[in-house]
Symmetry: none
Subunit: 166 residues, 2 copies
Amino acid sequence: MRRFRGEAENKVDNKGRVSIPAAFRRILEEGDPDWSSGLNPNLVIVYGRRNRKCLEGYSIGSIEIVDNLVSNLPRYSKEREILERLLNSQSIYIQLDENGRIILPLKLRKLVEIQTTAVFVGMGEKFQIWNPTNYISDMNLIEKNLSENNLEEELYSLLDNVKNQN
Amino acid sequence: MRRFRGEAENKVDNKGRVSIPAAFRRILEEGDPDWSSGLNPNLVIVYGRRNRKCLEGYSIGSIEIVDNLVSNLPRYSKEREILERLLNSQSIYIQLDENGRIILPLKLRKLVEIQTTAVFVGMGEKFQIWNPTNYISDMNLIEKNLSENNLEEELYSLLDNVKNQN
DNA sequence: TTGATTTCCATAATTTTCCATGATATGTAT
DNA sequence: ATACATATCATGGAAAATTATGGAAATCAA
């Protein structure tokens, strides 16, 4: 499965319309089991991640993996109900329009402080949508953390450890 | 099967009429085997959940899954009888009207303290209907619980464990 | 009849769809 | 490479359809 990669900055009009970057559309199309040439792909936007000033976009395929994991938990267990709250109540289906745009409801724009511009950030199996300024801050925070503690090499070495466990 | 996602706050008039959020209607339509374009879908409202100040709405398809689970229990077992009580005697069929509304009987509104406004909360295979204030409290309770006990990570890791069991 | 319930109509606000345009890019033949 | 034709993309505006909601007429029940 191909992944969401790269960054793009697009305009948001006062109805909340934004273009999804063309590169991301291709991934959404591939990831939507109902999609076929000529149709407009669906996606899911999750807005409920704690401590995170951004929205997250998932292809239908990716979100179904998560949904199915939740569905395998005991139906009325506390854990499942909490997860449904975090994942389902705090998310919405959206379908791209004919021009490759979606509309971000006002509620979500306010939540992540998006007004006239949105940054789309590829994150592999999902992508994020940021207020441009907040995105820069978040990037700087990561950079700072990495350089101050010289973490980069250590971080990448994590990858090999994971591999060894498989 | 698509899932109930997102939150919506709608007015309840003094006859008990409320609009079902349009996004939820689509799911109810898809989930009702008798539905076809032009008709109004049915749903089931369960009001028998203990310790929970909300109503729960199921598509016909979803409630049948739950019903079947109950039917798989020994016919005259105590457990089955109790579950039939909670799920069957404490629930009703409702059909949407021409405008996408249902009427919530006074009895149910009193039960969950709904007066002029109701919040609809997507919970995957079902949705919940809350008094707005009670919903906020419930959400805060979850938040608090998650952050105080640093449970979020643990909760998400549950998903990975589930995966490993397959 | 009288109160309650259901059906039907009306409307403002929102959302969706459709069309238009300039900017980029992609391609093709000379 | 250059020039020209063809797509695709990001964006704006406006028409059309849908939603949420209130009120009134029609039906029903006791």
